[in-house]
């Protein structure tokens, strides 16, 4: 049984439909990637899972089950307590608070007392030693890469069983992006399932076991990550591999009409 089971999930911001009938599974212990261009609905998907869409003026319908328990009526704090924590796009650290207080804030929604929080803090400091060194500095003074580490460390303070990551490599230099990727793998290796949203398909497909491609609110492709990485369609559109013959093949093989449309409105 999959850890997270999403069925017929749709979401809208007022009249603007952003997700349409999404079916998606996140198996336990694995990294699952969601790829898609700007406005594809990746962030909306994560907001629907963390039940924070309404803070952005959105609503969702459909079912989401986590280990068999329905999530779609829960408050955001119950989602965190159930073990699902979202790291928002653009890091969103509390810039005016210290690094230590940011981490403390991350533990507020977690079950378990001080002991658990202290253990989580040790673990976060082990993963990101820089956060221990900068503990008493304002989070706003950290570099972009360090802020991403803080955003992830803050989420880990709640000891999630499923971590939702929204474009962790956004705006980072390749070296830092690679370091973040290594850390994601390490977090996953210690038993946390990961749903990774990325525009950087190269990184995401290397990390993930399965992947989904989202276009204008719909899942257009999904399968094992290595198969997707090898597919011409993905290579051409998300990995930036230009291969005229392969491109032509792909267009012929798939219904071109839908894709042409999505390319225009993406």
């Amino acid at each position: 049984m999959p850890t997270l089971e999403i069925r017929a999930l749709s979401a809208a911001y007022g009249p603007v439909r952003s997700l349409r009938d999404i079916d998606l599974d996140v198996p336990p212990g694995a990294i699952t990637a969601v790829l898609g261009g700007n406005g594809a609905g990746k962030t909306t998907l994560l907001r629907a899972l963390s039940r924070t869409l309404r803070f952005h003026g959105g609503t969702a319908t459909g079912t989401v089950r986590f280990d068999g328990h329905p999530l779609e009526r829960l408050r955001p704090d119950r989602i965190v307590a159930a073990g699902i924590v979202q790291v928002p796009e653009g890091r969103q650290v509390f810039a005016r608070m210290t690094v230590a207080d940011n981490l403390r804030a991350g533990a507020l929604g977690a079950p378990g007392g001080r002991r658990a929080a202290a253990e989580a803090l040790d673990r976060v400091h082990e993963l990101f030693p820089v956060l221990a060194r900068r503990a008493h500095q304002s989070a706003g003074l950290l570099s972009g890469g360090e802020q991403q580490m803080l955003a992830m460390g803050r989420a880990l303070m709640a000891r999630p069983r499923l971590l939702l990551l929204d474009e962790p490599s956004l705006g980072l230099a390749p070296l830092m992006a690679q370091r973040i990727a290594d850390t994601v793998r390490e977090i996953n290796a210690s038993g946390t399932s990961v749903l990774l949203v990325e525009q950087n398909a190269a990184i995401a497909l290397r990390l993930a076991t399965t992947a989904y491609v989202l276009e204008v609110g719909e899942v257009t492709l999904h399968g094992p990550a290595d198969e997707l990485a090898a597919s011409d369609e993905v290579r051409r559109r998300y990995l930036g591999v230009v291969d005229e013959a392969a491109a032509a093949d792909a267009d012929r093989a798939a219904g071109t009409a839908v894709r042409a449309l999505s390319r225009w409105s993406a």
């Binding site: 003026g57 955001p76 403390r104 977690a110």
Partner: protein, 296 residues
Amino acid sequence: MTTFIELLLGGLSIGAVYALIALGFVVIFKATEVVNFAHASLLLAGGYVTAVLHDDIGFWPALAAGIAGAAAVGSAVEFLVIRRYRGSDHSVLAIVTIGVDILLTTELTRRMGTEVFSLGDPWGDRVLTVGGVTLAQTRVAAFVAAALLITVFLLAFRFTSWGVSMRAAAENPRTAALMGIRLGRVSLAAWAIAGALAAVAALFLTVFPTPGLERATSLAALKAFPAAILGGLDSTTGALAGGLIVGVTESLATGYQSDLSFLGRGIGDLAPYLVMVIVLLIRPAGLLGTKEPARV
């Protein structure tokens, strides 16, 4: 010189009381981005509860009841009114609080009539004389109580989990929600605390040398607005500084009124607003504020 010291100490004392009110005002603004124009009526409610109860149950229990009552009224306003409007424009919410203020003040003044209530405080009109400087005991009590409460508040804000959740929600509510911080609770707590602080302030605004709790008390409470604004609407320490500045300015301007007669009578009441205008001309976000107050 003695006069100056007396005026200064008196100003610091009343300023600390203004700071209590301004602090509650700032806490609500930080937690919910709402400019609470109903603040004076929370204060009046707290004072009224203490005033009607102290004869029967004694001063201290009555004060506790007043604090609890104002906290309850604050929570009720949040729960019944502000929460329903969550997500709407902050200027709409500010106007909604004006409506709440009119409602509460009308009901309270109807009950109070023209009577002047004593709150039954134990200090009466006794004075304290140290080295030729004379100060009413109520002023000393006001300063000590306000300083204590403000210290406890600031420490809690800085060090407790409650403080962390409050600051996180104030800085970025959507992200705070992702940590499992309950925004509704944060907002409810802010309104309750603001009410409680206002009830304590009500006591010290109405003790000697003021005649007692009356309709006009809410006007005195209004002086906390310039205090909060000149300190910076979103700064707790700013509220403290603003309160003290307003208190001292008011006290000195009133005390030296005869020397300032070229400015006309009543300069004491005007001075806080003059200071506010001057500060805002130089620093539009207030002394310690980070956001433009104009955003509301």
